[in-house]
Amino acid sequence: MLQAIFIVLSVITLGGAVAVVTNKNVFHSALFLVVVLVGVAGLYLLLEAPFIAMVQVLIYVGAISTLIIFAIMLTRRLMNTHQRQRNEQWLLSATVCLGLLLVLVVLITQAHWPVVQANVSEGSLPRLGQDLMERYVLPLEVAAVLLLAALIGAIVIARERMP
């Protein structure tokens, strides 16, 4: 049963990913990206990580994809144009991507994965919160400062010049 769900989710995710990079209409690509991200959230659910799955939907579908679509609608008139999806550098980037895939496959198959027998999903959420606030508070704050810097940068770029 889990196997079947996993296969369905993988097909949805990978099929969506292929559609994202091959589609000629940028708006459709963005919509397929939503499908991919929801599929990944499904995979998280399958791994009994509901919190991560919900955050995935909230951040990636709710915020990032919507912003991408919004930006597409704002910047260009793409109603019926057919964009080329690649430029002269496609060979280079394909090589880099294949190399990355190779490294990841080697790492994942070679790595020693410790397996915990206990039920992880019970009470993992309060634990996550506590760890973020105590043990990993510095990385968390660094990430927050990074986001703040991005925010201020965006405002500086977007605001009107003083006469």
């Binding site: 939907v57 909230l58 109603m79």
Partner: protein
């Protein structure tokens, strides 16, 4: 009597037992799952029909009219006639439309609107599935609604649709932040993200009594999230024809209509669960069937408030709407969250009794409300245009 006292849950279990007699366990479970989905959707569709009639009646009464009164006694069959009309209408589609996106958008909107009901407890023991991240689930699903609106706005190949879609995104983005912060302070107090546990945690005290500011903020943001008047700028008739669903007709339009009403019901249901104790009420432990009644009464009270708002307040302009969200609601919601966390911690450290800590929380909330109102008064009093009476005085002299 014991059967009737918990009618819905008991009959549900009885059907499950009967099914298990002649079906293998997995098949019985599957059938019951599908039956649950069908029952939920049927219930929600019935609610949508009821709400459309109620809205027209309430708004008519407030405007000193009678409202629908032709179809059936007191017009109660009006929703049926409306539904029939929408179903038999032609499905028009612009020639230039992005056809698949155009056709998919209504389905996505309704799906996103229905999904929260998987985790919302409608009564004692009446919940699809009790997941331990329920609040987060409901908040994240509401972001799918934004995608549906964007798809509709884009697919129609119409300037007004596109503008409506963009407005919807700006609005829903801005109001989701204070909304999530209000929910976060509730989660902080109850210590759980599961909607069932949050209802249970309000056994003694409804959270609206310790979080009045949070409740009001949630209600405001919720109305904006559901695109209801006075925050209905994505479909402002006077500016944008009909906003993102300008190009839709027939059943596809009906889908958007349904999605909007279900979203309104969801916002009210969430406010009920988070702040008004969900299905809790007197004698619920003795007579569990009452829980559904209490829940629906509370939800319909909030829905009535929304109708009342619609009949009373004029629509905001988009810049007013966004500055309301970012400059007023967001700071108050942030301050509310921090103050709630502080008061809760102090109450824990001092070892106060439940009543005393509730009093402390309520006190800090009221202080926040006072400070917020005073600040708003000081800031906006200076900018306010001279009042009408003052202007007329000039003419009278």
């Amino acid at each position: 009597m014991a059967f009737v006292s918990d009618l819905f849950v008991n009959s549900w279990n009885w059907i499950a037992v009967q099914l298990a007699r002649f079906l293998p366990p997995w098949a019985a479970e599957l059938v019951m799952m599908f039956a649950g989905v069908v029952v939920l959707i049927a219930f929600l569709l019935f609610m949508v029909m009821l709400l459309t009639l109620l809205e027209r009646k309430v708004v008519a009464r407030i405007a000193d009219r009678i409202g629908p009164n032709r179809v059936g006694p007191f017009g109660i069959l009006q929703p049926l006639a409306d539904t029939l009309k929408l179903i038999i209408k032609e499905n028009t589609e612009p020639a230039q439309a992005d056809h698949w996106v155009f056709r998919l958008a209504p389905a996505v909107a309704v799906t996103a609107a229905l999904m929260p009901y998987a985790v919302i407890p409608l009564g004692r023991g009446m919940v699809g599935t009790d997941i331990n991240v329920g609040v987060l689930y409901v908040v994240s699903i509401s972001s799918l609604t934004v995608i549906a609106i964007l798809m509709a706005g884009w697919g129609g190949c119409n300037k007004y649709s596109l503008l409506g879609g963009m407005r919807a995104v700006a609005q829903m983005f801005s109001f989701e932040v204070p909304l999530a912060l209000c929910l976060a302070s509730v989660v902080l107090l109850t210590g759980s993200l599961s909607l069932v546990s949050i209802t249970e945690a309000q056994r003694e005290l409804w959270l609206v009594l310790v979080q009045p500011v949070g409740f009001l903020l949630y209600l405001l943001c919720g109305i904006a999230e559901a695109n209801r008047s006075p925050f209905d700028i994505p479909e402002a008739e006077s500016e944008l024809v009909a906003g993102y669903h300008t190009e839709y007709s027939g059943v596809r339009f009906a889908f958007f209509f349904m999605a909007e009403y279900i979203n309104m019901f969801t916002v009210s249901a969430m406010a009920t669960i988070m702040f008004l104790g969900g299905w809790r009420g007197p004698f619920v432990d003795q007579l569990p069937v009452l829980s559904v009644v209490y829940f629906l009464l509370k939800v319909h009270f909030l829905v009535f408030l929304m109708f009342w708002f619609r009949a009373t307040f004029p629509r905001l302009r988009i810049d007013q709407l966004l500055s309301l969200s970012w400059k007023v609601l967001l700071p108050i919601a942030l301050a509310n969250l921090m103050l709630t966390a502080l008061a809760d911690k102090v109450a824990h450290r001092a070892g106060l009794s439940r009543m005393a800590s509730a009093g402390l929380l309520l006190g800090s909330n009221l202080v926040l409300a006072g400070v917020a109102i005073a600040t708003l008064y000081l800031v906006y009093e200076r900018r306010r245009a001279p009042s009408l009476s003052r202007r007329y005085e000039i003419h009278w002299h």
